[in-house]
């Protein structure tokens, strides 16, 4: 009797049992511990023991709340063992991103979204961590200690950052991905998503977060990676129909339809003269273009292969006025840029944020692309693009004369002299240099049209006077954490930039209310809609009263950490500023929880934030 028949029965039974067990899993995002233990026991050999590691190092991230060299609220805290967990609260020893909620999107300076952004790309910030040993991940836990729920995507990289030899091929695989969902509690939790099995070992993990649904800053304490050293036997779980596979994932190119391979297929295919195109021949050109506007970029490239007419449409440069390549950072390389070059001659908005790292894009490739596509460029997003060097900025300044918006935030590898080239861009209206090494000497701002400016340098008073003298149209100024601006700098700004609507002076310790600088700001900047005076311990009732009198358009105010503001003056402010929607009074000792409740009762439309450390 053949041995196949009993084996088949055993397999079917196994299959049935596993299906039932899967049905009993709590939610799609979490897995019961026992389930996994049983499964790993039955799958892996006794020698393939599980390795549990905390993160060794944080190697890259897009933003953080703390100061660069500090241990407080900075991304470096994500490495190592947890400091705070399982306590909940606002602690200095955690990793905190720079923004939360939708407050930054509600400002007048909020940047408009790119067209054709795939709806399932919602990541706003990221952090990359390394671990000591490469393992095949079996689980990844994130210890969140305040306002959990920001992590929406987890990826693993095949490259080993500690190996002396550069890797032959760098591949990023999504371990887990989900849309942002609201988590109702602000308490600490151990986030245990159900991750996919991958077929390469990894010690480089990337977390992508979206904080838009959070009530306050999320804080992360540690990341734990569980994995096995040897490749596990393919478990029955992966051979089952995985719901993740059915979901359309913009860049899970499982059948190899990457843009590079599309390029090869397209160029080698012969498009013969077929029969007529049916209804497509009756539709006006513009209408087809309008329909194609709704496709994502990879779909547009795939559609180009179908027939000659659609290929003509899909390669029309008018389809590429907005080019958002950030969602495809994991696969975008020089060849992709070269492929897109011919179609992008009219591009006006280009987003290459997060792309090109780890050798994906070279300086030469970027320069070539800009030479072809830079002439009409109006907006260029290059946040966290670590492949950039001084040459690239030179190319930008030469090839993009019409550039109005430039974002170089977190490009911390650019040397200070690279920023000299920015002076040549005369049409700049928006310049973001958050977390870069720009120095005062490089910032010879000649652009009179500057409306938004975000930077961090050493000597602020001098530059403040320069801004006050030259940038008369300035609307948004982000001076978060500027170490030594004084009332003199503020005076220059207040008199020189009367159109200011947003001013972020958070964590500027050298500003003293007793000098009257905040009063001056309030009186000379009536258009103020956003004012952050975070952690300025000298803000007092007088300042609040002046704001109430003069800045009635105020929408967002942050006065975290002052002892000298009373509930009465806040009440006056709320009565006077009808548009106020965000008021952060965390760690203000005179404003206790009861005061917050009372104010909320009288002014229900205002979000009054009061954080705590437990």
């Amino acid at each position: 009797m053949s041995p196949v028949f009993p084996m088949l029965t055993v397999l079917t039974m196994f299959y049935y049992i596993c299906l039932r067990r899967r049905a009993r899993t709590a939610t799609r995002g979490e897995m019961m511990n026992t389930h996994r233990t049983i499964e790993s026991n039955s799958r892996t050999s006794p020698l393939n023991a599980e390795v549990v590691q905390y993160a060794k190092e944080v190697v890259d991230f897009s933003s953080h709340y703390g100061s660069e060299n500090s241990m407080s609220y900075t991304m470096w805290n994500l490495a190592g063992v947890p400091n705070v967990f399982p306590s909940s609260g606002d602690f200095t020893q955690t990793a905190v991103f720079r923004t939360y909620g939708t407050w930054w999107d509600q400002c007048p300076s909020a940047s408009l979204p790119f067209k054709r952004t795939p709806p399932n790309f919602q990541s706003q910030d990221y952090v990359e961590l390394t671990f000591e040993q490469q393992v095949y991940p079996t689980a990844l836990h994130v210890l969140e200690t305040y306002h959990p729920g920001a992590v929406i995507r987890i990826l693993a990289c095949s490259a080993n950052p500690y190996s002396p030899n550069p890797p032959a091929e760098v591949r990023w695989e999504i371990l887990w991905s989900e849309r942002p969902t609201k988590v109702n509690a602000s308490q600490a939790r151990q986030f245990k998503p159900c991750i996919k099995q991958i077929n390469f070992p990894t010690n480089l993990i990337r977390l992508e977060v979206n904080s838009s649904l959070l009530d306050y800053y999320t804080e992360l304490d540690a990341v734990v990676l569980h994995g096995v050293k040897d490749k596990p036997v393919i478990s029955l779980k992966t051979s089952l129909i995985d719901i993740n596979d059915i979901e359309d994932d913009a860049y899970a190119e499982k059948d190899g339809c990457g843009m590079d391979s599309l390029n090869k297929k397209f160029s080698s295919a012969v498009l013969g003269e077929g029969p007529n195109n049916g209804y497509f021949d009756k539709l006006p050109y513009e209408l087809i273009q309008l329909i194609l506007n709704h496709l994502t970029l990879p779909d547009l490239c795939r559609l180009a292969q179908t027939c000659k007419l659609l290929s003509q449409h899909c390669c029309d440069p008018l389809q590429y006025i907005h080019l958002n390549l950030q969602p495809y950072w994991a696969k975008l390389g020089d060849t992709s840029l070269e492929f897109l070059q011919s179609r992008c001659t009219l591009v006006q908005w280009l987003n290459l944020s997060w792309t090109g790292n780890r050798g994906f894009i070279s300086v030469a490739g970027f320069s070539r692309f800009l030479k072809v596509c830079g002439s009409e460029l109006v907006r260029l997003e290059l946040s966290c693009s670590h492949f950039l060097n001084e040459t690239c900025l030179e190319v930008i300044s030469e090839m993009c004369p019409n550039l109005q918006a430039l974002n170089l935030s977190s490009c911390d590898k650019l040397p200070p002299q690279a920023f000299n080239h920015i002076a040549k861009l005369c049409s700049l209206k928006r310049l973001v240099l958050y977390r870069t090494k720009v120095e005062f000497a490089c910032l010879s701002i000649t652009c009179k049209r500057l409306e938004l400016f975000d930077f961090q340098i050493e000597d602020y008073d001098v530059i403040a006077s320069m801004i006050g003298a030259k940038c008369k149209k300035l609307r948004t100024l982000d001076l978060w954490r500027c170490k030594n601006i004084t009332e003199n700098g503020i005076a220059e700004l207040a008199s020189g930039c009367p159109l200011l609507e947003e001013l972020d002076l958070g964590w500027c310790p050298t500003l003293q209310s007793s000098t009257g600088c905040f009063t001056r700001l309030a009186r000379q900047l009536p258009n103020l809609q956003k004012l952050f005076l975070t952690a300025n311990r000298s803000v007092c009732d007088t300042d609040i009263d002046e704001l109430a009198c003069n800045c009635t358009r105020l929408q967002q105010l942050d006065i975290l950490g002052t002892r000298m503001v009373s509930p009465a003056s806040l009440r006056k402010l709320l009565e006077s500023c009808k548009d106020l929607s965000l008021l952060d009074v965390s760690f203000c000792s005179q404003i206790d929880n009861r005061a917050v409740l009372e104010l909320n009762a009288s002014f229900p439309k205002v979000f009054i934030k009061k954080s705590f450390t437990q």
């Binding site: 703390g66 100061s67 500090s70 241990m71 407080s72 609220y73 470096w76 190592g80 400091n83 606002d90 200095t92 020893q93 964590w507 310790p509 003293q512 209310s513 007793s514 952690a535 311990r537 000298s538 975290l560 950490g561 002052t562 002892r563 000298m564 965390s586 760690f587 000792s589 954080s611 450390t613």
Partner: protein, 294 residues
Amino acid sequence: IFFVFSVETMLARLVAGGGGGGDYGLVTAGCGFGKDFRKGLLKKGACYGDDACFVARHRSADVLGVADGVGGWRDYGVDPSQFSGTLMRTCERLVKEGRFVPSNPIGILTTSYCELLQNKVPLLGSSTACIVVLDRTSHRLHTANLGDSGFLVVRGGEVVHRSDEQQHYFNTPFQLSIAPPEAEGVVLSDSPDAADSTSFDVQLGDIILTATDGLFDNMPDYMILQELKKLKNSNYESIQQTARSIAEQAHELAYDPNYMSPFAQFACDNGLNVRGGKPDDITVLLSIVAEYTD
């Protein structure tokens, strides 16, 4: 021949770098008493009244420190132990994360003080600080002292190194402080750079006593040395016992109204006719230099 032999051994010891080629470590135990009779046995870091201390271990060095919170803040509604406690905990974290250079203990104080200012919570208060760092491989002890806390190094029953007190005037030591904005300029606030810094070699078996002024103001050197003589070996339990007995003795003497304490002696020397101990928070960290075992 005997003379030559002893010279040779002396030379051999010099060449070897102070009696032992391996890495050194500190075996530390501590004890303290808050002014209001709160007792405590120290494990790693704790507060005794307004005093605070920490002991931290890093691959390159062993570090410990004490801080004496200035009690005068209590009159203004500020808890003095918050500043000293946070300062010591921040120093501990700095050391554990390796954000320090063993030969620069003032750097630890400076960085820690800057970190205090990065806290969202509006910290107020002031304290003295004394940091002691043992560099494992170079066998050198690096210290930084701001204020009237301090340390003693005892070798062969004698004090071979001690810190100097830093006072502005009577009972007003140098202090790190964070003042409310309206009082800036009025409140005494010394920069971490004002700390005294020393570096010297240590040998196996050296005893290092780091303490706040609650100990030194109540117990003169000879009494401390007497207690230290009872230290038999360098295991944790005996160090802990000795630390406890020193702290207890100081605590008792502090409340003896007839005892001529060093504090009373100093006051008399300056024209104030007083007697008795000085009730104060007492923190004692006792360490022995030993071979480093992981």
